[in-house]
């Protein structure tokens, strides 16, 4: 196939050629960035938490009266006993937070008591001797808490317990050689705490972008949350009894003591609901970007069909002449396919610059990640296929132009 005559013909359609190339360039820029955003958001949405999600639910229990630390601790103990007696409940624990809550308590972590710039940042969970078992997190080294280690923490009572269970991610960050068990660290205090257990995975309570460098870094302290305002109960239902347990639990708690506030709207949430809520905006972004990508590709494809059809209509006479001079159907078909390929390549060359330009802006404004080359390559392949697919029908029509057209006036 000779490229020279195609280029010569395109020179006579500068505007149309430029418009198609521009459209392909812009489409490429948007599509590969959108695909990258979709991929990132979907990866975020499907982050594992390390807990037994299908059987867990959380009750936000706010106290209706102000309790002292001792009173609150006693009430929590009583509530947990009530919850554990329910038929559908396997186990229950209390905490200040839970994975994917979207915010919570986090502390700086240091290796020395007087270290100014922190080694890392960890989510803090307060838990009792039922915490690991209830959440279903896997202890991979060391031991669980004993009941007699659990202390009460009331209003602004800041203390660091002597023992801590940490997630593997935190253990590896603090002791990269894998010998964290039994070792100390500091958590915004001049008193050390010792790692007595390591769990395989325990997601942080927040899902924010700032904590990405500290992903999955969390710790559990043997502390009963006895704050005057309330506490979270994390309950593990027996398999298949989640719905029943979620209905029974607040009823049983109210029957025991009505001076509490469990919001009828979102006071009791299954982990599926928690996950849904935590990644609401990520899912929205993924959906929006997918819709824009699809419509964009459709419109660009349709635009190419429209303009090429117009060109075919304009050139019927020339096509007839070429056919009369011996060009086959195949030659004409190839002519239009090649023409489109050339325009697409020009557009793609521009588009690659635009794609990285847009990505740089996103990196600068929103500290998103650099666009991996594979997305650009994917976009290039997608747009070449789209262009060739879109041009195929008009090209086929062109190839069917009869040689007799050459004799007719245009």
């Amino acid at each position: 196939m000779q490229i020279h005559p195609i280029l010569a013909a395109l020179r006579r359609h500068k505007a149309g050629t430029l418009l198609i190339a521009l459209q392909i360039a812009l489409t490429l820029a948007i599509v590969c960035n959108a695909l990258f955003i979709i991929h990132q958001r979907l990866a975020h949405i499907s982050e594992p938490t390390g807990v037994d999600e299908p059987n867990l639910f959380v009750i936000e229990n706010l106290w209706g009266e102000q309790y002292s630390t001792e009173e609150a601790a006693a009430k929590v103990q009583q509530d947990l006993a009530t919850l554990r007696q329910l038929a559908g409940v396997a186990d229950a624990t209390q905490s200040n937070s839970y994975p994917l809550r979207g915010g919570g308590w986090d502390n700086f972590i240091t290796m020395k008591p007087d270290q100014i710039s922190p080694t890392t940042d960890s989510s803090i969970y307060l838990g009792d001797e039922h915490f690991l078992r209830t959440l279903g997190v896997k202890l991979i080294a060391g031991r669980d808490f004993h009941a007699d280690e659990v202390q009460n923490m009331g209003l602004r009572q800041n203390f660091v317990p002597p023992v801590t269970i940490v997630s593997k991610a935190l253990a590896d960050k603090l002791y990269p050689n894998g010998d964290a068990l039994g070792k100390p660290f500091y958590s915004m205090s001049d008193k050390p705490t010792t790692i007595i257990g390591i769990v395989d995975r325990l997601h942080r309570s927040d899902v924010s972008t700032w904590s990405v460098p500290f992903a999955n870094e969390s710790l559990v302290w043997p502390v009963r949350d006895a704050q005057p305002w309330g506490v979270f109960y994390i309950v593990r239902a027996r398999p298949g009894q989640l719905d029943a347990a979620m209905r029974e639990a607040p009823k049983a708690l109210y029957a025991e003591n009505r001076m509490r506030m469990i919001s009828p709207k979102d006071g009791v949430q299954s982990f599926a609901q928690i996950r849904h809520l935590a990644f609401e905006s990520d899912r929205g972004m993924a959906v929006l970007m997918s819709i824009i990508c699809l419509v964009l590709l459709a419109i660009t494809g349709a635009g190419i069909v429209g303009l090429t059809s117009f060109w075919v209509g304009q050139r019927r006479r020339q096509i007839g002449v070429r056919r009369a001079l011996g060009a086959t159907h195949r030659d004409i078909l190839h002519y239009f396919l090649t023409e489109n390929l050339l325009i697409s390549l020009a557009g793609i060359a521009m588009g690659i610059f635009l794609a990285f330009g847009l990505n740089l802006w996103l990196v600068k404004q929103f500290s998103s990640q650099l666009l991996p080359l594979v997305y650009v390559l994917g976009g290039v392949v997608l747009l070449i296929l789209l262009g060739q697919g879109a041009v195929f029908a008009p090209a086929l029509r062109a190839s069917r132009v009869s040689p007799v057209e050459a004799t007719r006036p245009a």
Binding site: L26, L155, R156, N158, W229
Partner: protein, 436 residues
């Protein structure tokens, strides 16, 4: 002539229904995507208090120092020590200090099940400086602050739930086991974004239920239900020690009416920080800020990145749709070169051809705007799928958005038609007549 050209335009659009449909769809989708994302952006980036936003300022004082502050920026709230010092100095026309609190209320009688209510612990100037409208009664004044009175202002919504909307001023209400005197009922007032508490709370959430006297809350050791941020080794073991710590949680606001006042207040903050350095509390030179409402919202990154990114992507999408439309209009207009030649030969000027084709494009724009409006209204009901529920509920289709959709669609299409129409007007009559 306009009506005639419009008629011609509509007739021509009917002649190539596929091409026309393609253009209308491109414009429709492009404008709808832009409008949906814009409506959300408009809702989250708006000025929540337009007539006073340049007179209200957040004083910031760095009490963490260069090694522990947020990349050189002082934190967005004050510690108890600094907050109290700033309030005592009283260097502004009006000033307030606030933090979010959660309390319980018994909606019917002492035997009912309590409900949790959310509000703010504030000082008296809050109501006048933020221009909170009142349905009944009023806020309290600085004397009441000093008396540490058990005063509360209910919001219209909460008053409706508790008292069926009746004038409850002067009545007592029990919140979390303590009695308060209702001094006012505020009319619905929910600036969005909630500029005054963005450091602590989400900027977009349900309206508060009450405002209660800050000193009273402190006396009752009612903890903040929002953010608390500390640095270094924490040594406090209870409420009173916590108050003396470097933890920041109190949100201050001052009203300064003139540039002079602003400069003076800035000097006051620097002086205060210098004094703290002098007495050894701060081991660093003064690092203070004084931002007005819009600068503050910007600093707090109130507009979610999702909203900005999606609007930019939608606008790029619209641009591509327009490029597409230029190409299709060009094809459509040039296909009628013969027709143009005849008209030109019969005496039509270039200008007339030009305006005829622009009007035809405007007709496409109008149709595209109509489709865009339809798609926007469908999209608006689905905004909840794309953005957080708290943000999605703020976006709505109003008259200005409808108007904007149509105007943008028509103007954009006409702009897209400049080049194709110019090409049409350049058609040489002789060439066209000859070949026919």
């Amino acid at each position: 002539m306009f009506a005639y050209y419009l008629q011609l335009g509509v007739r021509s659009l009917k002649r190539n229904p596929v091409l026309t449909a393609l253009m209308v769809m491109a414009i429709g989708f492009g404008v709808a995507a832009s409008m949906i994302t814009y409506s959300v952006f408009r809702a989250v980036s708006g000025n929540p208090i337009p007539d006073k936003s340049s007179q209200l300022f957040v004083p910031q004082i760095d009490n963490w120092g260069p090694q522990q502050n947020e990349k050189g920026e002082p934190s967005g709230a004050l510690s108890y020590i600094d907050a109290m010092a700033v309030m005592r100095a009283h260097q502004a026309t009006r000033q307030t200090l606030l933090y979010p609190v959660m309390l319980s209320a018994l909606p019917h009688d002492v035997n009912s099940i309590p409900v949790s209510i959310n509000g703010y612990a504030v000082t008296g100037d809050f109501f006048s400086m933020f221009e909170v409208p009142f349905l009944y009664g009023n806020g309290w004044n600085a004397n009441d602050d000093d008396r540490r009175a058990a005063d509360v202002v209910l919001t219209e919504e909460f008053n409706q739930r508790m008292f069926g909307g009746a004038n409850s001023v002067g009545r007592e209400i029990t919140l979390s086991g303590h009695d308060y005197r209702i001094v006012g009922v505020a009319k619905h007032w929910d600036p969005s974004p909630r500029f005054y508490a963005v450091w602590s709370d989400s900027a977009f959430q349900d309206p508060p239920d009450f405002y209660v006297l800050l000193n009273r809350m402190l006396d009752l050791k009612t903890d903040s239900s929002g953010r608390n941020s500390c640095r270094g080794n924490l040594t406090f073991t209870g409420w009173d020690e916590w108050l003396q710590s470097n933890c920041v949680w109190l949100m201050p606001w001052v009203e300064l009416d003139t540039a002079n006042d602003v400069a003076r207040y800035h000097r006051f903050l620097e002086g205060y920080a210098a004094d703290q350095q002098h007495v050894g509390r701060f081991a660093w030179p003064p690092n203070v800020r004084l931002r007005d409402v819009m600068a503050w919202l910007d600093q707090m990154n109130v507009v979610p990145p999702e909203s900005r990114i999606s609007m930019v992507v939608a606008l790029c999408f619209f641009v591509i749709c327009l490029v597409n439309t230029i190409g299709l209009l060009l094809a459509k207009f040039m296909r009628r070169a013969g027709e143009i030649g005849v008209r030109r030969a019969l005496g039509a000027t270039r200008r007339e051809i030009y305006s005829q084709y622009l009007i035809e494009a405007a007709a496409v724009g109008l149709a595209g705007g109509g489709l865009g409006l339809l798609l926007t209204s469908i999209g608006m009901s689905g905004v909840g799928l794309l953005f957080n529920a708290d943000i999605a509920r703020l976006a709505h289709l109003d008259v200005s958005l409808v108007g904007l959709t149509l105007v943008v669609a028509i103007l954009a299409t006409v702009a897209a038609a400049f080049y194709p129409a110019w090409r049409a007007a350049q058609v040489q009559p002789a060439w066209q007549l000859k070949s026919n």
